[in-house]
Symmetry: C2
Subunit: 154 residues, 2 copies
Amino acid sequence: MSVDATVTPESWDEQLRESGLRVTAGRRAALEFLDDHPHSSAADILAGLSDDIPSISAQSVHNIVHDLTRHELVRRIDLPDSGSARYETRTHDNHHHVQCVVCGRIEDVDCVVGHAPCLTPDDVHGMTVLTAEITFRGVCPECEPTLRDRDPQY
Amino acid sequence: MSVDATVTPESWDEQLRESGLRVTAGRRAALEFLDDHPHSSAADILAGLSDDIPSISAQSVHNIVHDLTRHELVRRIDLPDSGSARYETRTHDNHHHVQCVVCGRIEDVDCVVGHAPCLTPDDVHGMTVLTAEITFRGVCPECEPTLRDRDPQY
DNA sequence: CTCGTAGTTTTGAGTTCATCAAAATATTGG
DNA sequence: CCAATATTTTGATGAACTCAAAACTACGAG
Ligand SMILES: [Mn+2]
Ligand SMILES: [Mn+2]
Ligand SMILES: [Zn+2]
Ligand SMILES: [Zn+2]
């Protein structure tokens, strides 16, 4: 059983350089944090990085995720509720998400097709469809009892 | 050729009353406006209603769409870009949307299945999937030339 | 028809998330 | 190590939405 070593902690430095971005403590820490905590908000990242980098500011986190998103080292996702944008290091695999309507928990859902667009609808008003962003909404196992309490007919 | 008369302007009043909501000028006007201008934002609605109801406030529009959404007379949609939430009178038909990445134009896309959830992925981490919100992203016919100018390899 | 009450709108303030701009600082090639 | 330029920080600003209380209105009871 061998672990895929294409994404080691140090490789973030390489990926940053390959994108023409300078290697900074904030960017490296943000990438490491997002790899460990997918679907984090800018505020989550700020909180997660403040211990290691006390000087980091909210504005810096926004700058960082913006730059990393633009160079496709991270992916930005905007889920229906969830107030703020979320970020993750899983890019280029066209995966989707399932979100618990009770607790907000977010999990990845592999794309059945594996490439964009994974669906092709009938009538798209003449538009050329590039991607299909899918957000499944449901109830996670932990929240099912909660929901049954509130609405026994479930 | 007969027009479906199930949704006449006056029927908004009935639908409001059936939901236990009082019939007010703002609510009636908002429903009429949204029926004519689907996928409008709260700001769009405010602008569209200000002529007829000069006293209307931004807060009122938020109250109105919130109440109408809660009683399912309108549907709220949150699209990836687009900053603000959008609203429409087409409810209960589980339809989806296609959005032009250049100009932001939004169009309806009928659900192929016709009922939620229209997709059932393999692994959803034990969650019970209720709905699948799909946003197709692409380029509309009007914007294709623009895109070709910027990036000739298209 | 009038009145009273609960529902609704308005007014005003406040929050969160994100952006813009300029000064301070750090990275990196030479 | 230095200079050039990218990045971070600081500070201000904006957009969308929410909260709370006062003013107003729809509508059913009388
Ligand atoms: Mn993901
Ligand atoms: Mn629609
Ligand atoms: Zn849950
Ligand atoms: Zn377009």
